[in-house]
Amino acid sequence: MYSHGRVLSVATSAGTVTAVTAMPNTGMESTVQIAVAAAAGLLVWAGIYIAQSMFSKH
């Protein structure tokens, strides 16, 4: 339909299943830590972008 940007979920699901299956047990904790750090990074990035957008309007 009109949805263009989300034609990824089947591929990313397949990638996830492959990665989790192949992942050694020792890598589990670090994967969660990296994901949390990435999510936090995205939030900070979004905050900076919004603040900059608001600042540039005034």
């Binding site: 949805s3 940007g5 990824l8 979920s9 990313t12 992942m23 972008y49």
Partner: protein
């Protein structure tokens, strides 16, 4: 088979418009700059109460603007085609939205590449420069057109010819029903071509058109809600999924993508909490992040738009808004059976804004 007569000209441009004084003049001038003669441009004003008709007449010859009572976009197209005698006088008709901008050489490319081998065509669509929503649209159009539209074209499964760049061979017009009200008349026409087996739809990426995206979040939400409601309306109307056709399989895949994404953000976290292991969820997030970031960087490079990278985290917000809206529209149309018939309104009313000169600059890159 197409009818060929020596008298017929190659390509007419018809622009249905309702209260488009903000943009219609720029759109016509853009078409002329892109290679279309004013003699081959026509405007249908559908019940406009502003200066749309007068502004169109400033640029176009006498007799090239039809001013009709408000009947809706599809009827404006049908009446314009009939009133201007386009089927008899032209081989192809290009329908365009009133807020379109065409890249240099757009119509020359079309005239060169339109072939009797297909019955309809669509050019390449790009987003005009704008705020964070326009930036997200660069990401969406790159994925949806540079990748998916080429695949759809190869498979013969283009599900929608966008209203901004919709080209029909005139001999199929009589087989199309413009009278049935629809929230998304462009998808309705496209699915009629598939269902009636009228012929192939071509994708012509060399012909680039640009479109104006919503200027704020509320406007964006209204637009995608109309698109998704219209999409589900068309799935029901054309019985998509009830036949073993290519278009059924492809649109089934598109719905599957949404269902899988919904499961990723709902069932997967529940599953991870239940088993006390967050690795699958973390891995899913990182794989998705890598894919979306990779496409964003590629889109920035391809479109020479590095500015779109800055808004990357906000794309996640819009992706989830889209997901919610998709299933909301499904519930309204498929479960509640709402919007069975529609008044001939225009959802573009009040949405337009002047196209900034710096935004137009991208049209000629």
């Amino acid at each position: 088979m197409p009818i060929h007569t020596r008298e017929r000209r190659k390509l007419a441009l018809i622009i249905p418009a309702h209260n488009e004084q903000m943009v219609v003049g720029d759109t016509i001038r853009s078409a002329i700059r892109a290679g279309q003669s004013p003699d081959d441009i026509y405007v249908v004003s559908d019940g406009s109460t502003d200066w749309t008709v007068e502004l169109a007449y400033l640029v176009l010859p006498d007799g090239h603007v039809l001013d009709q009572p408000q009947m809706g976009k599809a009827m404006a197209m049908a009446n314009g085609i009939l009133n201007f005698g386009l089927v008899q006088r032209y081989e192809w008709i290009h329908i365009a939205d009133a807020d379109g901008v065409f890249a240099d050489g757009y119509f020359d490319e079309l005239r060169r590449r339109l072939s009797p081998k297909f019955v309809a065509a669509t050019g390449h669509l790009q987003s005009l420069k704008g705020g964070w929503i326009a930036k997200y649209r660069v990401f969406e159009y790159t994925m949806g057109l540079e990748v998916m539209r080429r695949i759809q074209s190869l498979l013969g499964t283009i599900p929608v010819i966008p209203g901004a760049t919709c080209i029909l061979r005139t001999d199929i017009v009589e087989h199309l029903d413009f009278l049935h009200p629809s929230l998304t008349e462009d998808m309705d026409l496209t699915l009629q071509i598939h269902r009636r087996k009228l012929g192939k739809i071509a994708y012509i990426p060399q012909a680039k058109a640009l479109t104006q995206d919503p200027k704020d979040f509320a406007d964006y939400h209204r637009q995608i809600l109309r698109w998704y409601r219209g999409g589900w309306q068309m799935i029901r109307r054309h019985g998509i999924g009830r036949r073993a056709g290519r278009i059924d399989a492809y649109m089934g895949f598109m719905v599957l993508e949404e269902i899988v994404l919904l499961m990723q953000v709902t069932l997967l976290p529940i599953y991870c909490i239940a088993i006390g292991n967050y690795v699958p969820m973390a891995t899913m997030f990182l794989v998705d992040l890598a894919a979306v970031l990779g496409i964003t960087l590629w889109a920035a490079w391809l479109n020479r738009r590095p500015d779109i990278i800055a808004a990357f985290p906000l794309y996640y917000v819009l992706r989830f808004v889209n997901l919610y809206t998709f299933f909301r529209a499904w519930f309204e149309i498929v479960v509640l059976r709402k919007f069975g018939s529609d008044a001939p309104g225009w959802t573009t009313e009040g949405r337009r804004y002047r196209i900034a000169p710096e935004a137009l600059g991208v049209a000629n890159k």
